[in-house]
Symmetry: C2
Subunit: 458 residues, 2 copies
């Protein structure tokens, strides 16, 4: 059986391990951090995860879907909080019953590692940092970092002595946005690559339970859109909420630099959230944590030679505003499975097939996520936006197959992302023809009425 | 005096060394190759250089302009070779007297290193490869590679023992498109970066002198545009021509893979050039050399913290179709000088000032170079394109200050690149109003004539 070397035991790496275990391959997973199951506190971003159809489908194929969904909290709508701190507007995500699931990243990761480990063909190597890939020799240069401090991304290391050379038939890089595999191969000719940071950063906060109960309605996605900045809150099973503020870095520096500023900024813009967050938690967090950047990464192709494939954030880190980062990464596993099936496990052919299929979809969801950033910040408050949402859901109710809203195609289907954009353009065209038809009809009726009145018929 | 560490002794690195020597700073230059003056054959791309106004201005400030220009060959026009191998069309670059200069890269580089070395404050360290930059410690990690084979870009090295830690007040990275300084810092938060390969590759050829004379007219840029592929030729002082074919990689693979294919491809598409290149030189080159890729690189900002600045190709490698790669890199030196002057040698302020000024210009010339790719391949043959060129030059003759053709603004001025695009948009608007006015006047005259004839006046 071929041997696959997976770099990274995060969400996508662990799921890939489950897939290849199921396929009967030998699997080795190299992760530079300690085993997440033994860690007290996990550093790094979380921004609660919203599991939707693509992610569920990928989990289902390895028998994990139901268990994971049970551990989450369903969200059926966006609940938009107004500035007065009292009134709301509710925007359902889809038809009744359609929902996404708020999931705890750490818990999900732990479950998946444990699941993969149950297969004797899978071996995990924690505290093993992959430094580089040699395409000619088909090997990875790995360093054991055990006992040392966890290295920062990109920091130079000097443990040359302990270099390990790892061989395999296929390498799947799932080592995230700052992928060291990708960096090591980025000078390969004809590898297109871009990384783009947005002007906004984020800080995570928490709302604790109130009298042992959820302090806010749990089964919705809470949203405080305020033009150029926004606050969101997602429920957890333990009845807390993970809250995230997104704002321009300049605003963090100018409007939220002193405790007084933070307090009055939250009081003024998110009065209801402020009450629930509590002054001391808010100020303590802002004192402790600096706003984190958000990056969007695109590359083409996703594979190198017939040896390395990038999946998940390593191939297409995106801004978190469509809740598709994890779902797209999970779907990568499914697409790879489909590619291997279609090419009878021929690795070179499968990699070319995968890139050919997946790159355009990855680029599209990256762009959609960037676009949804506008939506979450502000658009949700616009009348035309809300009207379109209603028209889409109305038409969808009667023509389920023929008319799916954009959000539903992304979230509740596995339609390839690039096809979704084509379909959306078609819908836009239909609506525009309809609008023009309506205008002409109205004009004709008005002219008719006017003539009729003039001739004394009316 | 502050100490500047320059990474790379190529064209931009050597010129920067001259600038900082003039400024009185201590200068150390680290170059991973051997001293180009001691090398028998220089590997890597050349694509003959076309020196124009920006490059000349930058050379002038260190007293090198006249000497360098004398060593080159003036080019006053494009000479477009038709497919019959016999007829041409001539497109002047500007007004009579305006020209660009074909320069030999190696010679230019040698002159500049020698010039910089004449200052006792400048030290060159050849065969010293910069591995990484430590922003916190403000130092570079450099390895002496002397005696070893010249390393390939991106290939891992294992001479840990000989690491040298170099300190300085400012680092200028001039280490080209595959900059190791940039790579070492690419994971810094909020550093936007993109690399994009075009679908075309290139191969370089040579035309030797004929009876001791230039085999083609020397003072023009020779061009064989054939739709999706193109051939160019630039004269050298030794009466040879450097010839470059640009074509899609697929065409190299499908239409130029066997000697017979190469021969008939050149015979059919470039009959006159084929005769001058000669069959054996052509086939030998195609046998020896594979088509090289062309990359376009953008990043933002161009500096890291208050310590590192990227200039030249390290900051903005571009496709070679506007002949601005070197000119823009040289102008970087001038802009940096202006920044340091404006900020009284305050390094952090100067770097911020420089990025703020230069990034948008670098992005613009990158885009223009990509656009000129279309022009060189095909557009030069279109009637509307030629007409516009003529209108531009006509208006420019009478309104020199008010109307400069796009090409002239790029090539014969130091107008910031981003302003050129604004100016071009203004010109487009003026011409479109003029065109519309002309159409209305024509229509009015025709209607007038028609009415006059109907009434029997005519």
């Amino acid at each position: 059986m071929p041997k696959v070397v997976i770099v990274g035991a995060g969400l996508v790496g662990a799921l890939n391990a489950c897939y290849f275990a199921q396929r009967g391959w030998d699997v080795e997973v190299y992760e530079y951090r300690r085993d997440i199951r033994t860690m007290e506190h996990v550093a790094g971003r979380s921004i609660n995860l919203a599991l939707s159809y693509r992610g569920k489908s990928a989990l289902e194929a390895v028998g994990l879907k139901d268990y994971i969904v049970e551990q989450g909290v369903e969200m059926h709508a966006r609940l938009v909080h107004n500035k007065d701190g009292k009134t709301y507007s509710r925007q359902p995500y889809g038809q009744p019953g359609e929902h996404i699931v708020s999931i705890n990243r750490r818990h999900l990761n732990e479950v998946m590692i444990t699941q993969a480990e149950q297969c004797s063909k899978v071996k995990f190597f924690f505290e093993h940092k992959v430094r580089s890939v040699d395409l000619d020799k088909k090997e990875l240069i790995v360093t054991f970092t055990g006992g040392s401090k966890i290295p920062r991304f990109g920091s130079p290391q000097s443990t040359k002595e302990s270099d390990i050379h790892v061989k395999g038939d296929l390498v799947i890089a799932c080592d995230g946005a700052y992928s060291s595999v990708r960096r090591s191969l980025a000078t390969q000719p004809r590898f297109d690559y871009s990384q783009e940071y947005i002007g906004h950063g984020y800080i995570e906060l928490n709302i604790l339970p109130k009298n042992g109960e959820f302090a806010l309605e749990p089964n919705v996605f809470h949203l405080w859109p305020r033009g150029n900045f926004t606050l969101i809150a997602l429920a957890n099973r333990d009845k807390t909420f993970t809250v995230t503020i997104f704002a321009p870095f300049e605003d963090f520096a100018s409007k939220m630099s002193t405790p007084n500023d933070v307090e009055s900024f939250f009081r003024e813009n998110f009065p209801d959230a402020y009450e629930l967050l509590g002054r001391s938690h808010l100020l303590d967090t802002f004192h402790r944590v600096r706003p984190q950047p958000l990056v969007s990464i695109k590359c083409r192709p996703h594979h190198f030679g017939d040896f390395v494939l990038l999946t998940g954030d390593a191939a297409h880190a995106m801004v978190p505003f469509y809740g598709q980062g994890m779902n797209c990464g999970f779907e990568d596993c499914l697409v790879l499975k489909e590619a291997l099936d279609a090419c009878n496990d021929d690795i070179p052919k499968s990699l070319a097939y995968y890139s050919d299929k997946r790159v355009k979809d990855a680029h599209t969801i990256n762009d959609l996520a960037m676009y949804n950033y506008e939506e979450l910040k502000d658009l949700v408050n616009h009348r035309s936006y809300k009207l379109r949402k209603k028209i889409d859901l109305f038409l969808n109710r009667f023509f389920a197959d023929k008319w799916m809203p954009l959000y539903s195609m992304v979230t509740f289907s596995r339609m390839p992302y690039h096809k979704i954009v084509e379909e959306r353009k078609r819908q836009d065209k239909v609506l525009s023809i309809f609008r023009r038809g309506l205008a002409i009809t109205t004009a004709a009726v008005l002219v008719g009425l006017y003539c009729a009145r003039k001739k004394g018929v009316l």
